[in-house]
């Protein structure tokens, strides 16, 4: 893919004012994943082929409708990066043989949920990075198998209630550090993003457009149905995820991790947790001081050991 000359995103008014992705998709109201996809598609433009793994977004294209102006290929739950490999290699072969004009080149973007990215699709993703595949990967991470009713996944945070962790303490495990796992492959780019911080998101997409090789994004995707909150709170919850330090915004380039948003004063995690039904048991009927303190301590420990400040 010939890299585009970047548009510079300094202020909100630099953001695209209209969406490229069509309306009327069956995504839930307040879907944090769809918001990220909107921003990403608006910036990447029409010459994008999305390669999808089984998840909520699979329902974006249901015959005979599609919200995309460019390509869409559904693969399976485990092998979307391999689908991207096939498309990228084929397009490169056609370009090389001059069977495809350069202006018809495409940007190949894998779109999967956390179920595929953190689990079943991890080996295919690792392989794509080993092979230095020139592609973008967007993981919309709603911290559970959302499309099947929010069972816990390897991305589920500690203590969250899910439909397979309904006990009084919620999910006993801890969210897997996919950012570090991806970064350990030394791809061109890894970043965490969130739609509620659109400028940070836009700048990162702008940056990765100038690069080639594997460019990996994990977007925390606030999920009204899975996290049990009113859809109108999606942006607020997303901002709080960043402001409390629960979802650090960062990027990895050339062996270095840099935090792109560092709060001078982090808000207490309570503010993020208490808006979500999945953490209600931490606040009702009694405040679970120990449980909340443990979550706060893990967030504090993360930030204490980063030298970002």
């Amino acid at each position: 893919m010939i890299k585009q000359s970047p548009v510079h995103f300094h202020r909100m008014k630099d953001m695209p004012s209209t969406h490229l992705l069509g309306t009327g998709t069956p995504m839930c109201a307040g879907c944090g994943g769809l918001e990220t996809l909107h921003t990403m598609y608006d910036i990447l433009g029409r010459k994008t082929v999305f390669v999808n793994a089984a998840g909520c977004m699979t329902l974006l294209s249901v015959y005979p409708f599609t919200p995309f102006h460019g390509g869409w290929l559904y693969t399976s739950m485990a092998s979307a990066p391999a689908g991207a490999q096939g498309v990228r290699d084929a397009v490169d072969i056609l370009l090389q043989k001059k069977k495809l004009p350069v202006e018809e080149d495409v940007e190949v973007v894998v779109v999967t949920g956390d179920g595929a990215a953190y689990g079943m699709g991890m080996s295919a993703t690792s392989g794509a990075m080993d092979r230095n595949l020139d592609f973008i990967y967007l993981c919309y991470d709603n911290e559970g198998y959302g499309n099947t009713g929010q069972q816990y996944s390897a991305a589920t945070p500690h203590a969250a209630l899910t439909s397979t962790s309904k006990g009084s303490h919620g999910y006993p495990g801890y969210k897997k550090d996919l950012f570090s796992i991806w970064a350990a492959h030394n791809p061109a780019y890894v970043a965490t993003v969130i739609a509620a911080e659109p400028l940070d998101l836009a700048k990162k997409i702008e940056k990765l457009q100038t690069m080639s090789g594997p460019r990996m994004l994990i977007s925390l995707a606030p999920c009204p149905t899975g996290w049990d909150y009113d859809p109108k709170l999606s942006v607020e919850i997303g901002r709080l995820a960043v402001q409390t330090g629960v979802w650090p915004l960062k990027e990895y380039i050339d062996g270095e991790v840099r935090h792109t948003r560092v709060a001078k004063q982090r808000k207490p995690v309570d503010e993020y947790l208490q808006l979500q039904g999945r953490f209600k048991h931490l606040f009702e009927p009694h405040r679970d001081k120990q449980g909340i303190a443990e979550i706060q301590a893990r967030v504090d420990a993360y930030w204490d050991k980063t030298d970002a400040r």
């Binding site: 029409r46 010459k47 082929v49 390669v51 699979t58 329902l59 294209s61 249901v62 015959y63 599609t66 995309f68 102006h69 460019g70 390509g71 869409w72 290929l73 559904y74 693969t75 399976s76 485990a78 092998s79 990066p81 391999a82 689908g83 991207a84 490999q85 096939g86 498309v87 290699d89 084929a90 397009v91 490169d92 072969i93 056609l94 043989k97 069977k99 495809l100 202006e103 018809e104 080149d105 495409v106 080996s123 295919a124 690792s126 392989g127 080993d130 092979r131």
Partner: protein, 413 residues
């Protein structure tokens, strides 16, 4: 044409080379690996213009093959056994994409117990996927079938992926003289890949493999694929005629040996059928009217042709190199289905043999022929047989005795 001594695997690699494939997603597995090694060596030496990429699994490999064929290039891949099963989700999936490409399967028995040697349970697992299936008995046939398979898969009336099957060890590692088609003649025969509407392009919308809601659209697409596979029967005849005209080698959808006057017929797939061919010669020398029927095209299944060929025969011994647990031989079931209700249909006998590379010896073929004749003479139906000799059982008992002794020893200490 050049005549070379080639293994089945090398013949498969030559088939892909002569078909001028653009793209080879690969993954090693015994006994298929030599195919991708040959192709990789040619590409490295600049003798072949293609891109080979080793994926991290067969599941990804088949995904990449389908995705590349969907993006406008001619793709080739190869696997065996556990690899085919590991990729099975994608075997079914890419068939639904209606993407023509060719995959070679080098048949090998399935775990458990794990083995490296040949039988057909792997390829039978792909039976209902939509992939066309051509089964080979010689190394010559492998190279030629790959050229034919591309034509068939890419034909506008078909547009389905195809598997060319060969037996592990018996063909994969056995050298036979192979007439390699002249490169330009092969190119003229196979032609350019026309991806039709399957091309991802900047600025042109294309959605592939999207979801459907409800049984109506789902059934429509599934029926369409089934009918496309069935159309491959007619198309196959045209293509095999054309191949014969150009290269002087004939590949009918069913290979017949001494079938003109045969009263007793063996049915087998793949290279083990050469053992049955020997048996036919030996039986004929002993005064039998014996014959062999070997389907080359297994999907689509040539039902009408089978009915024509078997009507009026006395009895047919179907030797399956596979086993459907709780049912028996897959080929036997398919032949029984094909012949059901046919006037003057022959008696059918089911024999399972050749599992995990187990030999089928000439005495067994004679025993089968005897049993078929007795059944015909007495009018009694034939019980299904699992081929196993007394000697094999004795050897197995020895192994079991060792296992028991080892077990006892461990528990004593």
């Amino acid at each position: 044409m050049t005549r070379k001594l080639l293994t089945g695997n090398s013949a498969a690699a030559w088939g892909a080379r002569l078909a001028r494939v653009d793209y080879i997603p690969a993954f090693p597995i015994t006994p298929q690996t030599e195919i991708i090694e040959d192709l990789a060596a040619w590409i490295d030496r600049g003798e072949m213009e293609a891109r080979l990429v080793t994926l991290e699994s067969e599941h990804s490999m088949i995904t990449a093959a389908g995705a590349a064929a969907s993006s406008g290039v001619r793709a080739f891949t190869a696997t065996s056994s556990q690899g085919l099963l590991y990729g099975m989700e994608m075997v079914y999936t890419v068939a639904g994409w209606r993407t023509p490409f060719v995959m070679v399967n080098v048949s090998r028995g399935l775990a458990s117990p794990i083995t490296l040697e040949s039988d057909h349970n792997d390829i039978m697992a792909a039976r209902d996927s939509g992939f066309l299936q051509i089964h080979c008995a010689t190394c010559q046939e492998i190279a030629d079938s790959i050229l034919i398979a591309y034509r068939l898969a890419e034909h506008p009336d078909v547009r389905m992926p195809a598997i060319v099957n060969l037996d592990g060890f018996y063909l994969s590692f056995t050298r036979e003289p192979v007439d390699l088609a002249n490169a330009s003649k092969a190119q003229a025969f196979v032609g350019e890949y026309d991806p039709e509407n399957l091309q991802f392009r900047g600025n042109s919308p294309l959605s592939q493999a999207m979801a459907v809601l409800g049984g109506g659209p789902y059934s429509y697409f599934r029926y369409e694929a089934h009918l496309a596979v069935q159309r491959a029967l007619t198309v196959y005849e045209e293509i095999s005629d054309e191949f014969d005209d150009i290269f002087g080698r004939r590949y009918d959808m069913i290979d017949c040996y001494h079938m003109d006057d045969a009263e007793y017929v063996f049915v087998m797939l793949g290279s083990f059928s050469t053992k049955a061919r020997d048996a036919v010669d030996n039986l004929r020398a002993a005064g039998w009217k014996a014959g062999l029927l070997r389907p080359r095209l297994f999907r689509p299944f040539p039902q009408q042709r089978i009915r024509q060929l078997l009507q009026g025969r006395r009895a047919v011994g179907i030797i399956d190199q596979n086993i459907s647990m709780g049912m028996g031989g897959v080929l036997h079931s398919e032949f029984a289905t094909a012949l059901y209700g046919l006037k003057d249909a022959p008696l059918l006998g089911s024999y399972i043999g050749g599992l995990g590379g187990r030999d089928i010896n000439q005495r067994e073929f004679f025993a089968i022929a005897d049993e078929l004749k007795q059944a015909y003479d007495s009018g009694e139906s034939l019980p299904p047989r699992l081929l196993y000799t007394q000697n094999e059982l004795t050897e197995m008992r020895k192994l079991q005795a060792i296992a028991r002794a080892e077990h006892a020893e461990i528990h004593q200490t």
